[in-house]
Amino acid sequence: MTGAPARPVRHLLSIDDLGADGIDEVMRLTDAFVEVSRRSIPKVPALRGKTVASLFFEDSTRTRLSFETAAKRLSADTMSFSVSTSSVRKGESLRDTALTIEAMGVDCIVVRHRSSGAPHRVASWVDAAVVNAGDGWHEHPTQALLDCYTIRERLGSLAGRRVLIVGDVKHSRVARSDIAAFTALGADVTLVAPPTLLPPTLEGWPVSVSHDLDAVAPDADVIYLLRIQQERMTEALVPSLREYTARYGLTVRRAARLRDDALVMHPGPMNRGVEIAPEVADLPRSAIIDQVRNGVAVRMAVLYLLLGAGSDKVLTADDVMEAAVGESR
């Protein structure tokens, strides 16, 4: 999970597709696009003539808007397909859906699906670049990239940083991508959750585990809270939300014992009062709004990496500054 990608990145399905050098490259490209985003007209012609289709089999307003905004700021044409799971179940296969959309002439398909691996299947059938916008419990690589960017922005670097990922790791695509990305960049990751909300085995995972948030929180540089879903209660994974909050929620009392410079992060949408106290989400140490803002620039970087300037070439940040910034001057 470290080192440069062995070949030019064709799809972004998993953080492992990038490796540490690939993540760094996305970070550098993001710096350029953050600069673009600050302009009065935050738009560059870098992907003019390219078409980006978002294919969402699961509702996700924020991720879809973030990708579509990113594509538009790169001057790509965008198409959006929202497919309700029920209608697909009755009708065509995933392959037929993917081929139908590709036939409309798209260069990139951004896929969100409730099933782990669905973007990998799509990538095996189409010539277009595929970006995983979240698949089941598996990965959400652009979320991890924007999380890395946000941590670097606030703390300088991830190397040696102690990151706690707290909550429902078992069912979290964000956690799987974050673990891969944070550890690739040298962070020291600890998962904090009851055993029922951890994967069935962590063999081979470069993480530590704690079942005691109070014991590990005071030393942490980053507290990354995951959303706990109500349905986990009915699966007997935790007895009640109240008990979950008491043991694993970032309450005001717990937040007061964090280090002064510790960051609080959350992928959204938050359950205020459950995994995070309402007051804590709004503290200066909270980077939650930064995460959303950085999402657009990170997704611009990813689309540019996959589609910009001929994707047979590994781009550098200098290339993109020249291509993106230069053209728009």
């Binding site: 037929d96 782990s116 698949d135 598996h138 695509r173 069935p200």
Partner: protein, 426 residues
């Protein structure tokens, strides 16, 4: 009727091997010996002439899912794979749980390229609530009862089925798909490192093992025979080994895929590797092989489970479980089991024939007077699996693109050469 001479091969059956020609006339073997002549000659040079293979476990999908397979297409694949007898699983639509459904599959089998023996469900509709009319169905010829696709969850009902079976005048056996439904619920692959990494809910090995444990206990309690289907875990194999040593009347089978493939195959998210029970760990594969080698496992059974491309071109968790197996079983067993051919044939022919209660017509010795259900195998032939060339209506072979050693050259069904030089004759 014209005679067929199978010439130049080495005859191999339960009694051993010897160089001999085999002469077939009117559905039976009429002579085994040197320099036999027939109206038609099938070349067996370099080959082994063996009793036809017997599959205890195939899903032929008819009635109800003829898009995926029919008795005809499944039997053609079976013949190409060297099988002369196939036990058809009853999880069709509707389920084979009554006399009419048994007769329908038997009728479809009359024109098939292998003999088709319908298994019947243990419970009506495979719903796990009421017993099927086992005596009536056994009288029609059913010898294997199973709710395959799921296990009988209610231990009391399974006990009653076993007790009832003991009292029947036919040698029937209850076959169980061992899976504790609650523990396996929602799982799409083996629960372990790959399910954790891929973010897909897994089925723990214990979901299988708990029902193996229960059924061994019930067999001991009732004195019934029990046959455990497609064992996939080291724990299951160990429990069967111990139970048999203590006198429980248990037999069991393993599939070609469970003796060769692991859950690491699922890393591509390709549902062609989704199967139930799921592909397990290296240790489980080693235990299945050891069980085959030491006789704990009695049979290799395909669990041939065709699914249409449409059904498999879905995400992993939405695709149905199952893989093709009839055309590749022998070659996989020869290539991957590490066992000599005579052991492979015992596991694929005469041992399953006895479990299915069809040893009078299949899997018996190659000698004059016996029904001419035979296969001729070139053990040295290598071939690359191309699902597009499969006889099945489906293409979901996990062996696609793999090169295997051991190939069926000819298959004779009741004396009729249904496969000649690797080609189906009808």
């Amino acid at each position: 009727m014209s005679t067929v001479a199978i010439k130049g091969g080495r005859v191999l059956d339960a009694s051993g091997a010897r160089a001999a020609d085999v002469l077939v006339d009117d559905g039976r073997i009429v002579a085994v010996g040197a320099d036999l002549a027939g109206d038609r000659v099938l070349d067996a040079g370099g080959c082994v002439v063996a009793p036809g293979l017997v599959d205890l476990h195939a899903h032929l999908r008819q009635p109800g899912n003829e898009e995926a397979e029919t008795v005809e297409t499944g039997s053609r694949g079976a013949a190409l794979g060297g099988f002369t007898a196939v036990v058809a699983m009853p999880n069709t639509t509707p389920a084979v749980d009554g006399a009419a459904a048994v007769r329908e599959v038997q009728d479809l089998g009359r024109t098939a390229l292998c003999e088709v023996f319908p298994a019947a469900a243990i419970t009506v509709g495979r719903a796990g609530e009421r017993l099927t009319p086992m005596a009536e169905l056994a009288e029609l010829g059913v010898r294997i009862f199973t709710d395959d696709g799921s296990g009988v969850q209610d231990g009391r009902l399974m006990r009653r089925a076993m007790e009832y079976a003991v009292g029947l005048p036919w040698p029937v056996v209850l076959a169980e798909h061992c899976e504790d439904a609650a523990l396996a619920a929602g799982g799409h692959l083996h629960e372990g490192v790959w399910s954790a990494k891929l973010g897909i809910a897994g089925q723990p090995a214990e979901a299988e093992e708990l029902m193996v444990m229960r059924d061994l206990a019930l067999a001991r309690l009732t004195g019934s025979r029990v046959h455990l289907q497609h064992l996939s875990t080291a724990g299951s194999v160990a429990m069967v080994r111990a139970a048999r040593a203590s006198g429980v009347a248990v037999t069991c089978e393993a599939t070609p895929h469970h003796l060769a493939l692991t859950h690491a195959e699922c890393a591509s998210f390709d549902p062609v590797f989704k199967v139930n029970p799921p592909l397990r760990t290296d240790d489980d594969v080693a235990a299945v092989r050891a069980g085959l080698a030491d006789g704990t496992i009695d049979a290799i059974a395909t669990d041939h489970a065709p699914h249409t491309a449409q059904d498999k071109e879905q995400p992993f968790d939405e695709a149905p479980p199952g893989m093709l197996g009839l055309e590749t079983a022998l070659a996989v067993a020869c290539s991957e089991s590490g066992l000599p051919l005579e052991r492979v044939l015992a596991l694929l022919s005469w041992q399953p024939a006895r479990i299915a209660g069809i040893e009078d017509s299949h899997g018996g010795p190659v000698q004059a007077g016996r029904p001419a259900n035979l296969c001729v195998i070139d053990p040295a032939a290598t071939w690359t699996v191309d699902p597009a060339r499969s006889a099945s209506r489906s293409r979901n072979s996990p062996w696609a693109g793999r090169t295997l050693t051991g190939r069926v050259r000819h298959t004779l069904l009741a004396g009729e050469p249904v496969v000649v030089d690797g080609e189906a004759q009808r």
